[in-house]
Structures are given as C-alpha cells and as structure tokens.
Amino acid sequence: MSRAKPPSGEPCILGTEEAQESVYRVQNEVSLLRASLAGETAAWGEIVARYKDAVFGLCLGFLRSPADAEDITHDAFIRAYDNLRRYNLEKRFSTWLFTIAANLCRNRLRYRRNHPVSDPDVESPGGIDPAAAVAREERQVRVRDGLTQLPYGYRAPLVLRYYNDLSYREISEVLAIPEGTVKTRIHRAKAILKDLIGPVGVIDHETG
C-alpha cells in the first residue's frame, strides 16, 4: 500500500463507513472549533473523527503499545477540548493537538519507567494476519521492531516527520526542542534504524 502524502491530520485510513449524516460533517475546521468553544460537544466529536487516526498514529509511534496509544489518544482529545481557549490561531490546530498528545505520551513513558512492575509488557503492535506474512509484511515487522528499539528521543521526531508529515519547525514546536536538533535527530534516527533493521536489505518500492 503506498501512502499518498496526506495533509497533516488527515488519516491514512479513510473511515468513510464512519461518516455521519451530520451538519458538522461539512463545516470547516474553524467553525467546528468555534462551535466546540461554545460548548457544542458534537462539533468536537467531528474534530475527533477527523484527527483520531493522526493522533493515534503519533501515540502508537511514540509509545509502541496500542492499548497505551488508545488511552492517550482519548485523553488528548479531552485535554484539548478543556484547553481549547488556549489554542493560538497562529499555530496550526493539528500542531497544537499533536503537542498535547506528545506531552501526554512523554508522561506515560515516564510513568512506565517509574512503574516497571505494573507496566504491561509493550505489546508487539499488530495483529497481522499470519497468512499475509509475505516478504513485505516481514520487512514491515522488522521496521516496526526497529522503531520499538529506537530510543524515544529519536523515534518521536521520526514519527512526526514520516507519519504526521510535520515540518522540522513544527516538530521542534511539538517536542519543544530546537529545529537544528530535530534535523540531527532525524538524520541519526534513520542511521540507527538502518542498523537495527539489518541487512535484510532492499525495501522495494511498494505498490498499492
């Protein structure tokens, strides 16, 4: 499956089956945020529908655990709603939302470090159909394993760059690190990942 570069916040899985016959569906983002600000939680529901894949992907990339990612995605939307008045229009809404999610992820990782006993083992993300475990899947599994082994400080910018399609500047805002650091970390992350994936080698150009 080749992924056309989506605009940030646009899920790569289109949940058309989730499409609701709702007036909110056709409203633009600012109107939805306005309505949410006025306490219309249904408008916020539409924002959640639009961004849930992007936020979940970020959390899954950061935390490497679908259960944790689900928790944090939920929390991030609640937290963002509660603090909606702090949203500064000069930033893209998605960047602001991702910042909240990234901070929650960081807290969860800190919690995990401090509570190693109660920490449920980090699941191997997936649920891949074994029958479909063709070479492409194997490569993906190796990349996933590589991502899991990659230290958080390298993994986070990599996820924001290649899953959430953020610019270096936006990544520096979300992670609160200088832009130069973002660049070097991504560069380094790719080098480490390449080592981790090993000589499996060639990753074909994927075909849709």
């Binding site: 989730e18 600012v30 849930k52 979940f56 689900e70 939307f77 603090n83 899953y163 790719k190």
Partner: protein
C-alpha cells in the same frame, strides 16, 4: 538501503500499524463526547477573572431590582413634590411615567442583520457567554433583529447565520480577529465610542 526507501518503509510500517489497530478507534468520537458530558471548554484566565468580577446572573438581577426600586421611589417622590408645588400643573401624563418600567443601568442594544434567505439567525457574544441568542424576523422581510438589555461595557460578538459564523456586523464599533475569524466589538454605555 536508500534513504527515501527507509523513509517510505517507516511511513508504511506506521500506517499499517495504525490500520491493524484501527478497531480501537471505532467509536472514539462518541466515547470522547460522552465523557465530556455537557461541559464547555475551560475559561481562560482573563475570562475567569472577568466572570469573577462581574456579578452572577442572579446577583445582576438583584442589582437591577434594587436600582429599579430606588429609581421608582425617587420618581414617585419627585412627582409627589412636583404635584405638590404646581397648583395647576397638567400632570395627567406624569403618573404613567411613574408607572413605566424602572430604568436600570442596562442599555437596550439593538442587533440588526439583513439576511434575506436565512432560516435562522442568532447572535453569540461575550454578553451571553457565547451562547446563541436568536434574532427574529417576524415580518419575513429578511431583516433580523434582537434587542438585548446590556450593562455598560465592551462586548465581542458575532452573528450565526444558518450555522455559519458572521463576525463583521456593519453596525459594530470595531472588529477583532481572533481564533481565525472576525468578531465584532460594540461598546455599550459609557465605555467609550469608537475603537
């Protein structure tokens, strides 16, 4: 492995991960909305302060009632004195004045918006905590109006025409751009005219 292949592999791996865990996301929006209940986003520090300093609706009505009663007493007293002093005064109209609604600090502010084909028009603003107050167009001429009693002050507001934000009221004292769209500003009472 070339760099762009690695990038593509990372992207693809993350996407497929999200895809395989996507059942977890089913109905997330409903769960979030249910958890929010009917609460509104938290107030910002400024709004919080403003609300703290402003009397509560109950207190405001009490204030209006006291002011009204005081004004009524003074008017009655004034009329009584005037009546007492003027022997031939034509005061037939005066008692009606005394019986008229007592004046308060609030100013009746008219909101008018021409919206020919609109089905519904409302005004939201800082005076109503951004809750919609409907405008009426009883004669169906496309001119929507609402008259709201507002205490003196500066108000930010916008119209909502069939669910769409309309922040530039031609009758506003000024406009501000916040949250990506325009809002109108109006000064009521002694708050100063113009922006």
């Amino acid at each position: 492995m070339r760099q762009d292949e690695l990038e593509r592999a990372v992207r693809s791996a993350l996407c497929s991960e999200v895809e395989s865990a996507s059942t977890r996301l089913a109905g997330l929006e409903e769960r979030v909305v249910a958890d929010l209940g009917d609460r509104a986003p938290r107030l910002g520090a400024l709004e919080w302060l403003r609300q703290l300093l402003a009397p509560s609706p109950g207190a405001r009505w009490a204030q209006i009632a006291v002011l009204g009663a005081t004004a009524a007493v003074f008017l009655t007293l004034g009329l009584w004195i005037a009546e007492d002093r003027s022997s031939d005064g034509d005061l037939a109209a005066m008692p009606r004045l005394a019986a008229a609604p007592a004046p308060t600090d609030d100013e009746s502010v008219l909101f008018v918006l021409p919206a020919l084909n609109a089905k519904s028009v409302s005004v939201v603003g800082s005076f109503s905590d951004w809750e919609a107050v409907p405008l009426q167009d009883e004669d169906g001429d496309g001119i929507w109006t609402a008259r709201l009693p507002l205490p003196p002050g500066r108000y930010e507001y916008a119209f909502v025409i069939d669910g769409r934000w309309w922040g530039q009221d031609p009758l506003a004292d000024g406009y501000i751009r916040s949250f990506g769209e325009y809002s109108s500003v109006r000064y009521v009472g002694g708050g100063g005219d113009g922006v």
